[in-house]
Symmetry: C2
Subunit: 117 residues, 2 copies
Amino acid sequence: MTEGVNELHETYDVSGHAEMLAIRRAQKELQTNDLSAYTMYASGEPCPMCLAAMYLAGIENVFYCASMEEAVEAGLGKAKTIYEDMQKPKSERTLSMIHMPLDDGAENPMTLWRERK
Amino acid sequence: MTEGVNELHETYDVSGHAEMLAIRRAQKELQTNDLSAYTMYASGEPCPMCLAAMYLAGIENVFYCASMEEAVEAGLGKAKTIYEDMQKPKSERTLSMIHMPLDDGAENPMTLWRERK
């Protein structure tokens, strides 16, 4: 079992949410990125960063106590706002996502990755 | 300017995406969680973990080169799958989110947080 506690206030690291730290510590300890056999227990409903990290780690179950609505009531509503913004079409989001495609003829790193030996 | 390169393969850390590392390094260097004056440049369209981290850091603009579709073509389609799953109602997702409310009368950490002095 590994644990994490929100270290945001100490370390200046927005990725310091408890769930992220627990995942990072488990992966380091077990020397694997695959936590598919593991379950996450969180005090509150995970924010989208932490939830996506669970997906990336292959975690299939997360138990949480406080709902997003309770977090909002406690003045911790940022995660809900982010979830809502991420649901919108890119053009309507507060965070602008600007696609800058490669110029014609430029070497494409995605193609190089696909063709790697 | 801070930079990050995907360190997933070296460190067993799914939070080792380039964007996450760049954010963490910038926050540590500047001793702040607020990167609202900064712009992210990414080789590919960010995954939901990295995108949410940008929101948490207050970044308002991200430029990216390869689109999610190009990533899928290159065999890097996990982010797209996660975005799609996160759009679904909780009950239909591959990652089960199980709400375990507090028992009646149990001390609620969210209330304690709200009432802290």
